[in-house]
């Protein structure tokens, strides 16, 4: 149970980072942390205690196996995360070129 709780804490740290930090790079790091927390939860959901890998062979009997599907899905979600992160970093670089700062309180031309 404690490990699920720690996972929630990790997610909350990520959200806190996104909501409260002023530096663009720190916001991006917050997104990465929150994303990893969700991925970790997905893997934990599939975990069985003393489970083994689900590979079928003629001479063994599988009694307790780890659910393999979430691991495949998490791979996909990590790749998506990579794409989002790289795009965000590129936008952050361009913002730095234009504004000369990473501080979001100074990048506020749009409002209303």
């Amino acid at each position: 149970m404690i490990i699920y709780f720690l996972c929630l804490v990790l997610f909350c740290i990520g959200l806190y980072c996104i909501l409260r930090k002023r530096n663009i790079i720190k916001i991006i790091v917050g997104i990465i942390i929150a994303e990893y927390a969700v991925n970790l939860l997905f893997i934990l959901v599939a975990y069985r205690k003393n489970g083994r890998s689900p590979i079928l062979s003629p001479d063994t009997e599988i009694i307790n196996m780890v659910d393999p599907l979430p691991q495949a899905l998490v791979l996909t979600s990590i790749v998506i995360g990579l794409a989002v992160t790289s795009l965000l970093v590129v936008i952050a670089m361009r913002i730095y070129e234009k504004y000369g700062t990473f501080d979001i309180t100074k990048i506020r031309e749009l409002k209303g």
């Binding site: 997610f11 959200l15 996104i18 663009i24 916001i27 997104i31 929150a34 994303e35 969700v38 939860l41 997905f42 959901v45 659910d67 599907l69 979430p70 899905l73 996909t76 979600s77 998506i80 794409a83 989002v84 795009l87 965000l88 936008i91 952050a92 361009r94 913002i95 234009k98 504004y99 990048i107 506020r108 031309e109 749009l110 209303g112």
Partner: protein
């Protein structure tokens, strides 16, 4: 099941188009335009074909890689799907046509069309998929392409808006993924039909409530419902005009409204508390959106706030849950995607000709730009709900449905929001197009041919939109979609049985 081959083509053709444009577009000058438009035209033809297939054969299920239903990814073509496909691809076609001239001022048209087609692939994928994780993947494809498209101009405002949009939308995606994780842990399946039947067997639980809340936050953020709307005015007003039209016209609907309906009606199952939450959020967006819109002087920003308000009408109609309410909501969804994309294209035309979006600096443009001003007038009357334009009929149906369901308060707010919409569009028409022509605009010319064609065609659809509610058309196009939502979780029997 002979016609099931058309189902994967909606994603396949757009991905192929994107690939070819990015591969060959840089070498041959005209190729991005031609290939981009041909791809979208093919998709439009296919989606009209899909409506006939659904009318003829009912629900069509395609199993990717021939895996049996709960194991592999399933693609589903039913009434709601074909309705959404036509909406998305119709609007995308006119926008692609408009972009031929408009995107000339940007340097890399091939990149534009690549991203545009990728976004379209994502949207079509979200609509046709019957697998919840696949839905998430397509949702992310469409979202990532849209972040890049918002930042396409790489100027100060574009970048700022794109960053804000990307961060908020990513957080929304995280909530959606979290919801999917919980649903998977509860049901051990990813197929939406299978999930619906397992959830129906297991009955209500707190976990499903939590998942509903997560989905409401995630998809509500994508649909820009009111507490989650902050990104929309920035992103939609900073993007290039065809992209604003695409985002406001169809992206928020296919990623937000469609997914909300599909998951809440067909998978989780709508409850009275859930539908009242939808109605409250819809009404809030409707009223707050229009109040924020009325004070704007930036034309595109004003239109963006109206998107929030009109999405409120759609959600209100769908949240009512009565047949007439859902029909009104979906009908308004179609109409809104036509007239809002037309309005954004008009704002793009004005910006193209004059270089400004500030209403105070325009004036009398009707004399110089007759096509733009006539189409803008049509779209404004349509969004404000003046008979006989399309927006009037759908708003009328939503209001009648609210009265029939004894929700007089919601009906009253819908009327008030409609009047305020009329007021704010009278302001747009007065400041931008009518009145005295300002001295500095005496050299302004009407926009090029492709832009004119695309705007006029969309205006014609606005004018004839009311015809969709004629019994013969309604039976094929709208009623099938309404029936899918009314069926609720019986969706699973339809898919698993078929």
């Amino acid at each position: 099941m002979e016609m099931s081959w058309i189902v994967p083509l909606f994603v396949g053709i757009s991905l192929l188009g994107a690939f070819l444009v990015s591969l060959l577009g840089r070498k041959i000058k005209l190729l991005p335009d031609i290939l981009g438009n041909l791809t979208v035209l093919a998709l439009l033809c296919l989606s009209v074909l899909a409506v006939y297939v659904v009318a003829d054969k009912g629900v069509v299920v395609y199993n990717v890689g021939n895996w049996r239903i709960p194991l592999g990814i399933t693609l589903v073509l039913d009434g709601l799907t074909s309705f959404m496909l036509v909406t998305v691809n119709l609007v995308a076609f006119f926008i692609a046509l408009y972009a031929v001239n408009y995107m000339k001022k940007f340097t890399s048209k091939d990149k534009f069309y690549t991203l545009f087609l990728l976004m379209l692939a994502g949207m079509n994928g979200v609509i046709i998929t019957g697998d919840i994780f696949n839905l998430f993947v397509f949702l992310e494809i469409a979202s990532v392409a849209s972040y890049a498209l918002v930042a396409f101009g790489t100027e100060r405002h574009e970048l700022e808006a794109a960053f804000k949009y990307a961060v908020m939308s990513t957080v929304g995606s995280l909530f959606i993924l979290l919801g999917i994780v919980f649903l998977y842990s509860y049901t051990s399946t990813l197929n939406m039909a299978d999930m619906a039947s397992i959830l129906a067997d297991k009955g209500a639980s707190n976990l499903v409530l939590m998942v509903s809340a997560l989905f409401l936050m995630g998809f509500g953020l994508k649909a820009a419902l009111v507490p989650f709307h902050a990104w929309l005015p920035d992103a939609h007003s900073s993007a290039p005009a065809p992209i604003s039209a695409m985002l406001s016209g169809v992206l928020i609907k296919s990623l937000g409204v469609y997914t909300l309906c599909r998951l809440f009606y067909n998978v989780i199952g709508i409850s009275s508390s859930l539908s009242s939450i939808l109605m409250v959020l819809g009404t809030l967006s409707m009223v707050i959106g229009v109040f924020l819109a009325i004070g704007q002087w930036d034309l595109k920003r004003l239109l963006a706030y109206h998107s929030i308000s009109q999405i409120g009408y759609v959600i209100l109609g769908i949240g009512l849950g009565t047949p007439l309410g859902i029909a009104g909501g979906l009908f308004h969804l179609f109409n809104h995607s036509v007239f809002k994309s037309l309005l954004f294209l008009n704002s793009g035309a004005v910006e193209y000709a004059t270089g400004t979006r500030d209403l105070k600096r325009m004036g009398g443009l009707a004399q110089k730009m007759p096509v733009t001003s006539a189409t803008a007038l049509t779209a404004s009357m349509s969004i404000a709900g003046i008979p006989p334009f399309s927006g009037f009929w759908s708003k009328l149906i939503i209001i009648i449905a609210a009265v029939q369901a004894n929700r007089y308060g919601y009906a009253l707010w819908a009327v008030i929001a409609s009047i305020l919409t009329l007021a704010s569009f009278m302001k747009v028409m007065k400041y931008a197009f009518f009145g005295q022509l300002k001295e500095k605009w005496s050299q302004v010319k009407e926009v090029p041919l492709c832009m004119k064609i695309s705007m006029s065609m969309l205006a014609l659809i606005c004018l004839g939109g009311g015809l969709l509610f004629l019994p013969a058309v309604k039976e094929v196009f709208l009623d099938k979609a309404v029936r899918v939502l009314l069926e609720g979780t019986r969706y699973s029997q339809v898919i698993l049985g078929g």
